[in-house]
């Protein structure tokens, strides 16, 4: 030992000598090049330096030298200078003398040699910094090999300070460096413990963690006052970098739960500053203690992921719903605080963790919410049928039903004989759609009040199923109009007040109406005859026949029967002078169409048509050329199965546009599309359509081409062009040629179930795995009752229903917020039973 020391001293002086003989170069460089003499004289007490001794440059040490050079800057941050000592050639002193020594680097504190490193331990900057700091911080960073070592350290520090425990698979790695760098900064605050033992990591309860990657734990020993209790450990989720460790230690140092008594919008904590969300638990005086426990519980769960604050509602005037119990503040600027009603702490944790996940994949917020909704699936029991929900919300309102006669099995037939026409609504008092129609029906009754010869009545098929079956009512609702002692007509139009009123009114007049004189026929075309209909603006249809043309007449009469209530149809038998035919330039049999009170009368020749053809033709002829599309009339135009060219207009369509569109629509050959317009004032839902088509609301009016029946592509007529027939036609040409890009394409998604159903089959199998499907369990079969699958025999019966709930609780101890008072919400997850009435 002493011999070796002598040798060191010897080579030392030699080194000094050598160093002086080599000129210094590049003084700006952090790597100092000194002679041994200069070097040893420059050593100051307490300052650390890393030295490398070299006879000029031996080729093998070249890469190593580069790494040393590179690490100089990093080490300087820790007050460690890096020196290359140039040994004079003849120097055979301790450091310069031996070939062996030249392959090493030496760490000095003052002139004390702390450690010598073989150059192969210093392969890169990370390893140099890690190993150098490791050597210097020998007292601050404890190296342990077994779990017992770690626990001893922890136990010694309980109640006093916290421990940072790091596992690195090997020393000299980037992670090792990060840990050492952190220890350099925080070594006085926390006790750092390092290991490279994979088994220790496993023993510490991290079986599943991958031993090939480094891990860091914060052991909360300061908080652990009870010596019997182990220190809680919080793992760092991120990779081991200096920055992450710094962040983690900062978070661990922050108070577990921050008490807040100010507007949460103004609150800022270390979490928010570090880019983490802050969860507020809303508390009130009465439940403060419990809420504080909840907050602490949540805070432990979220440690390192989010901050938790306890907000006292009594102290802050919050303008949020009383039932909100949690608020979430995100670090992003300008995002308002979200107030939520959550049921258990798991939901709080999911809220935060999901959020992080979503942030990572940078999905937009809307989708995030949707995901959460879908994940929960708790909404199954919430009504999502607009009609059912609207009707149940209207349930308590008393309907004005006094104008509507209630019919029963006993009164039905006699009532039909009393009035010329009896309208009967067949409905079921439990069925939402028929109740919705009943509401419109009361409005119809209001409109028709005092109208002679029409009786409005209703039959509740839930009370009189036999009657409904007899009247051939198989679905609800059904409206039939019974003519006294004669046939009945089933209503097949829209279930709306207006449409139904008009149908009832039109049904009062026979269809077709036989017109006796030419005056009547003319009056009919002008909409003045019959007087009952004079207030209804309808296109009138007049069939003109000479007596000989019986075949067409029969078809026309049949068509009248079918269209009764929807159309006004008249028929006129001409005598020989054919006055009417001549006036309108037709030859019987012919059809005259009088639009807008006879101002324009159109003649159509009737050939040998079947009733069906005639009905189809009449329906088609009644369609407008450039209609205003409304909710009510769209189905008529949909049936044409053509693309739509719609002009969306805020209010009436301009005269110019209207003229041009009309020209377009009247074009020959007949256009292969429906030209129409939509008044957003009258049909506000049109805005919903535009909203679906475009990102931003286009300026109105806007002309849209949409092919509803094939492909669903939506095109927008360029707004810079004026809406003229020519422009539109050339635009349509371009569309056809595929030269335009669609603004959007309608989804062709199927209508799937909006939410899942209760899976009772699965519930049965999980609750009583073998019982219902595989083993026998007959009632009254005593020997089987003690089989294991029915635990407890008879007494098991009352308990069975709660088995599912029990299992849930066992699975998550301490997480069920419904465990204690005050709660009204218990009914939500536990079976509510009515045995006590």
């Amino acid at each position: 030992m002493s011999a070796q020391k002598d040798r060191w001293v010897f080579s030392f002086s030699f080194l000094l000598f050598c160093a002086s003989s080599i000129p210094t170069r590049g003084s700006a460089r952090l790597l100092q090049e000194l002679s041994p003499q200069e070097y040893f004289s420059s050593l100051q007490a307490g300052r650390a330096s890393l030295a490398y001794f070299s006879h000029n440059v031996s080729p093998g040490a070249q890469p190593f030298l580069e790494q040393i050079e590179n690490s100089a800057e990093a080490l300087q941050d820790y007050g460690i200078s890096v020196v290359k000592v140039n040994c004079p050639k003849e120097d055979v002193s301790r450091y310069c003398g031996k070939e062996n020594a030249l392959r090493k680097a030496y760490l000095f504190r003052g002139n004390m040699l702390i450690r010598e490193f073989p150059t192969d331990a210093l392969f890169d900057v990370n390893s140099i910094v890690a190993n150098v700091l490791f050597a210097l911080l020998f007292n601050e960073v404890k190296y342990v090999e077994t779990l017992a070592d770690l626990q001893n350290i922890e136990n010694a520090l309980k109640g006093r300070s916290n421990v940072v425990f790091a596992y690195v698979p090997a020393t000299g790695t980037a992670e090792h460096r990060a840990v050492m760098e952190a220890a350099f900064v925080y070594g006085t605050v926390h006790q750092f413990v390092l290991t490279t033992e994979a088994t220790l990591l496993k023993d510490a309860g991290n079986d599943k963690s991958d031993v090939s990657s480094a891990r860091l734990f914060f052991c909360h020993c300061q908080r652990a006052t009870d010596l019997g209790q182990p220190c809680r450990r919080t793992a760092m989720g991120q990779t081991l970098t200096m920055l992450n460790i710094h962040r983690h230690l900062k978070l661990m140092g922050a108070p577990l739960v921050t008490e807040v008594a100010e507007d949460p919008e103004k609150v800022s904590t270390v979490h928010l500053q570090l880019g983490l969300p802050l969860v507020f638990i809303l508390s009130q005086k009465e439940t403060y203690e419990a809420d504080r426990r909840t907050a602490e519980f949540v805070a432990w769960q979220l440690l390192g992921k989010a901050g938790v604050a306890l907000l006292s509602r009594d102290l802050v005037d919050l303008n949020v719903l009383l039932r909100s119990n949690v608020a979430l503040k995100t670090p992003e600027e300008g995002v308002p605080i979200k107030y939520l009603v959550l049921e258990d702490t798991d939901e709080v944790i999911t809220l935060v963790e999901d959020k992080n996940k979503v942030e990572q994949i940078q999905e937009d917020k809307a989708e995030d919410e949707e995901d959460e909704d879908e994940k929960e699936n708790n909404n199954q029991d919430i009504q999502d049928d607009q009609v059912v929900e609207a009707v149940s919300r209207d349930k308590k309102r008393e309907l004005p039903l006094e104008e509507i006669l209630v019919l029963t099995e006993e009164t039905f037939h006699s009532a039909l004989l009393e009035t010329a026409r009896t309208v009967v609504l067949f409905y079921a008092s439990w069925e939402a759609v028929s109740l919705a129609v009943l509401r419109s029906y009361t409005e119809v009754a209001g409109h028709l009040k005092g109208t002679q010869g029409v009786l409005l009545s209703r039959v509740n098929c839930w009370d009189w199923p036999g009657l409904c079956t007899k009247e051939n009512v198989t679905q609800f609702p059904t409206i039939k109009i019974y003519e006294k002692g004669e046939r009945s007509v089933m209503y097949n139009g829209m279930w709306g007040t207006e449409e139904l009123t008009s149908f009832i009114m039109l049904s009062r007049v026979s269809c077709p109406l036989k017109l006796a004189t030419i005056d009547e026929a003319e009056g009919y075309l002008r909409g003045e005859f019959p007087s009952e209909l004079s207030s209804y603006h309808h296109t009138s249809l007049l069939g003109v026949f000479s007596t000989a043309t019986s075949e067409a007449r029969e078809a026309f009469e049949e068509a009248g029967n079918i269209l009764s209530g929807h159309v006004t149809m008249g028929m006129y038998f001409e005598d020989d002078d054919l006055a009417l035919s001549r006036k309108y330039a037709v030859s019987p049999p012919a059809l005259l169409l009088a639009r807008s009170r006879g101002r324009s009368v159109e003649g159509i020749a009737l050939s040998k048509q079947s009733t069906q053809d005639m009905v189809r033709m009449i329906r088609y002829e009644l369609l407008d050329i450039f209609p205003e599309i409304t909710v009510q009339n769209l189905p008529c135009y949909l049936q044409l199965r053509k693309p739509f060219l719609i002009l969306f207009s805020d209010g009436d369509v301009g005269q110019m546009e209207s003229k041009e569109m009309l020209k377009l629509a009247k074009g020959r050959p007949q256009p292969a599309f429906v030209a129409c317009w939509l008044n957003l004032k009258k049909t506000p839902v049109g805005r919903g359509i535009l909203k679906a088509y475009f990102a931003t609301m286009p300026s109105l009016p806007v002309l849209i081409w949409v092919n509803l029946h094939a492909g669903g592509q939506v095109f927008k007529f360029p707004s810079e062009q004026s809406i003229t027939e020519m422009n539109i036609l050339s635009w349509l040409e371009k569309l056809k040629a595929g030269l335009e890009i669609p603004s959007s394409t309608l989804s062709d998604e199927d209508w799937k179930p909006p939410l899942p159903a209760y899976d009772f089959l699965q519930m049965m199998e999980t609750a009583v795995p073998e019982l219902p499907l595989h083993t026998s369990h007959r009632r009254g079969d005593t020997p089987q009752r003690h089989l294991p699958e029915s635990p407890g025999g008879d007494t098991a019966v009352p308990e069975e229903p709660s088995q599912g709930t029990k299992a849930e609780k066992v699975g998550s101890p301490g997480r069920d917020l419904r465990g204690t008072a005050p709660r009204l919400a218990a009914r939500e997850k536990q079976g509510k039973r009515h045995s006590e009435l």
Binding site: T294, V387, A432, T683, P754, P801
Partner: protein
């Protein structure tokens, strides 16, 4: 050879002499008349044979004490005739409103004479073809390739008149009294003949053999005047309110249980009647002993030498001598008239009083022979109501429908609806149908799906036991999956020794509906019709094999399953998920929006709005829908120009999903304990 020829000619001669009918019904009791009614309505060639001079001869004599235990509920608060049949256990099915039992009796438990009058009227008002005073004494088969079933039935009456039938409907009930033979059984009086005058029992001590309603009815009648009554039977007493089985002891007859449990001298005993022996002493008193003692004794000795149990066991329960012993052991089917070729076999175990039949009510031994009424109870013995009028009136109709399809090519009646009516048609049936309700777990409604699930066909009250044969039995096709609507009690709820009044016996939450204990509707979904093999492998206590999905509608205190959120909504979700479609209703405005923003429409819009039958909805309703967040009011909201579009989903649909903010009662976050 000559002999053979002679025999052959004799045979044809007798055939020629017999009267032919397509259908022969034996017995003009409730089920015979019910079957006759359906055959008559269908215009079939049938005849009913009745050995008595009037219908319902069983009821002319029984029950001996003349009180029917089938309820005659005249008021239910509802006018729905089908629903009311759920609580009318006496009426037969007919189109004639005069033939409702409440017109024959005002009593909740009517007098048996009312039933006799009712059956007489039923036969005469409906002009049913009944041959009275015709007792069929022999039934045999004759093979014939031309016959419907490969053979004809030959019936012979007491006057040796022959009848030839293609199909035989046996509606004879069970009328042969069950007797036990043990030493001394000659001292036993039968229920059929015992006096019903309580005065005859004054101051007597009576032993009744049997534990059924007839035994208790007899005891009830004499309870007040006897010294005491003991009842002995092999099985424990089963109370019908504990078992849900109307054939078990009804509360109206159970007065003796009260006096037994209150130690008022009456008593119940369990023991095998086969081991019993009765000896009469010199005073005419009857002593109970065991057959075992009699077998060992010296035959020549008198009564004094007989060992009585109390000689060895001085506290033997029935050591007191009795004045009378009455046998009330019920009835069994009369197997005696059937030729062996018909292979009418008694059932096994506790069903031995009934002939063996298939779940289609056809005899296991002979094709074309159907058993109706009480005798057909083996199908659902101790389970459902098939042995009673209120049950077998429906199973008889089911048999008639099977026959119509098999012999006349008339398929099972059905109605085709658009798929939008699926939820409604189920809700309607489970709320009013009586057949489903009475014949729970036996008769089921079947919903056959049409291709692409745009429409379905609804068949009512089909016997689920023959579900696998549905296509063959009904003439309807089921290639696209089916729903089976049935009613069930909770599987482990009822039983002779279970406490049916325990706390929390009723489920109120839709999500726990499968645990419902009381009668509630259950809907099974099968992608394919179950096969015979699957039917055989069905789990015990399940009426059906394992389905692809199942839904329980939660039991309801009022048996009213029309609540929009608790009953209809979960059902809709179930149906939607089976069919993979959206069955919600929409206002016309929503359909309008979908028509312009989606290439496909939900069924409600497709089958309603597009066909010009959209639901416009009053302003008030639309406002409610807007408030609920289920409809957007575009008139009010200014269009935010900078909002990104949602072209992926129709905005309306997005809206529908977004709105669902659960409304929950005020609740604080309270944590039970730390980790």
């Amino acid at each position: 050879l000559g002999l053979a020829l002679y025999a052959g000619s004799l045979c044809t001669a007798s055939s020629a002499a017999s009267l032919y009918h397509d259908y022969c019904i034996i017995g003009a009791g409730p089920s015979g008349l019910q079957a006759a009614y359906f055959l008559q309505q269908a215009g079939r060639d049938y005849v009913v044979f009745e050995r008595s001079h009037a219908p319902g001869s069983f009821f002319a004599l029984y029950p001996r004490h003349r009180k029917l235990i089938s309820i005659n509920k005249r008021y239910t608060g509802k006018s729905n005739g089908e629903f009311n049949l759920r609580h009318d256990w006496n009426s037969l099915l007919s189109h004639d409103r005069r033939l409702l039992f409440q017109r024959y009796s005002l009593d909740f438990f009517p007098h048996a004479d009312a039933m006799v009058r009712y059956l007489e009227d039923f036969a005469s008002l409906l002009k049913l073809r009944v041959r009275y005073n015709t007792a069929i004494v022999h039934v045999t088969l004759e093979r014939d390739g031309q016959a419907w079933n490969g053979h004809y039935f030959f019936l012979t009456d007491q006057d040796r008149q022959n009848y030839k039938c293609s199909s035989l409907l046996v509606a004879t009930g069970t009328w042969v009294p069950n007797v036990v033979n043990f030493p001394g059984s000659e001292y036993v009086e039968g229920y059929e003949t015992v006096s019903i005058n309580p005065e005859d029992f004054a101051g007597q001590t009576v032993l009744i053999l049997g534990r059924g309603n007839s035994a208790f009815e007899t005891a009830e009648n004499i309870l007040g005047v006897t010294n005491f009554i003991h009842m002995v039977s092999r099985s424990r007493v089963r109370l019908s309110w504990a078992t849900h089985y109307v054939g078990d002891l009804r509360a109206i007859n159970n007065g003796l249980l009260d006096t037994y449990q209150l130690k008022s001298l009456d008593g119940l005993l369990e023991g095998d009647l086969e081991d019993l022996a009765i000896v009469k002493d010199k005073k005419g008193k009857l002593h109970i002993t065991l057959r075992f003692y009699l077998e060992n004794r010296n035959t020549s000795a008198g009564i004094d030498s007989v060992t009585l149990p109390q000689d060895e066991l001085d506290n033997f329960a029935t050591r007191a001598p009795y004045d009378r012993v009455i046998r009330c052991l019920g009835w069994k089917f009369d197997f005696s008239i059937y030729n062996r070729s018909l292979r009418m076999m008694p059932g096994k175990g506790n069903k031995k009083k009934y002939p063996q039949i298939k779940p289609s009510y056809e005899s296991r031994g002979t094709r074309g022979l159907f058993v109706l009424g009480t005798a057909s109870h083996s199908v659902d013995f101790r389970k459902s109501a098939g042995g009673f009028i209120h049950g077998f009136r429906y199973t008889t109709r089911a048999v008639h429908r099977l026959l119509e399809n098999r012999h006349h090519g008339v398929p099972w009646p059905s109605t085709v609806y658009p798929i939008t009516q699926l939820t409604n048609s189920i809700i309607k049936r489970v709320n009013e149908a009586s057949g489903l309700y009475q014949m729970f777990s036996v008769l089921a409604d079947i919903i056959l799906l049409r291709e692409n699930a745009t429409a379905f066909e609804y068949l009512e009250e089909y016997p689920v036991g023959v579900l696998a044969e549905l296509e063959m039995q009904t003439g309807r096709k089921a290639p696209n999956g089916l729903f089976v609507v049935i009613m069930e009690y909770g599987r482990n709820f009822s039983g002779a020794d279970k406490d049916v009044f325990y706390y929390n016996r009723a489920v109120g939450e839709a999500q726990h509906a499968w645990q419902s204990n009381f009668l509630h509707p259950v809907i099974y979904y099968y992608k394919h019709l179950p096969t015979e093999r699957e039917m055989r492998l069905q789990p015990p206590d399940w009426p059906l094999p394992r389905p692809d999905a199942v839904h329980h509608i939660v039991e309801d205190f009022l048996t009213d399953w029309t609540a929009p959120n608790a009953h209809i909504l979960p059902l809709r979700r179930f149906l939607e998920n089976c069919l993979s479609t959206d069955l919600r209703n929409f206002f016309a405005e929503s359909c309008f929006l979908f028509a312009f923003t989606r290439q496909k429409l939900p069924p409600f819009c497709q089958q309603g709005y597009v066909r010009m039958q959209g639901l416009v909805g009053s302003e008030g309703l639309q406002r409610h829908a807007v408030e609920a967040g289920l409809l957007e009011d575009y008139a009010l909201t200014d269009f935010p120009g900078d909002r990104p579009p949602d072209s992926r989903k129709g905005s309306q649909d997005q809206l529908l999903r977004d709105h669902v903010i659960p409304v929950r009662p005020l609740q604080h976050l309270v944590n039970a304990k730390d980790e």
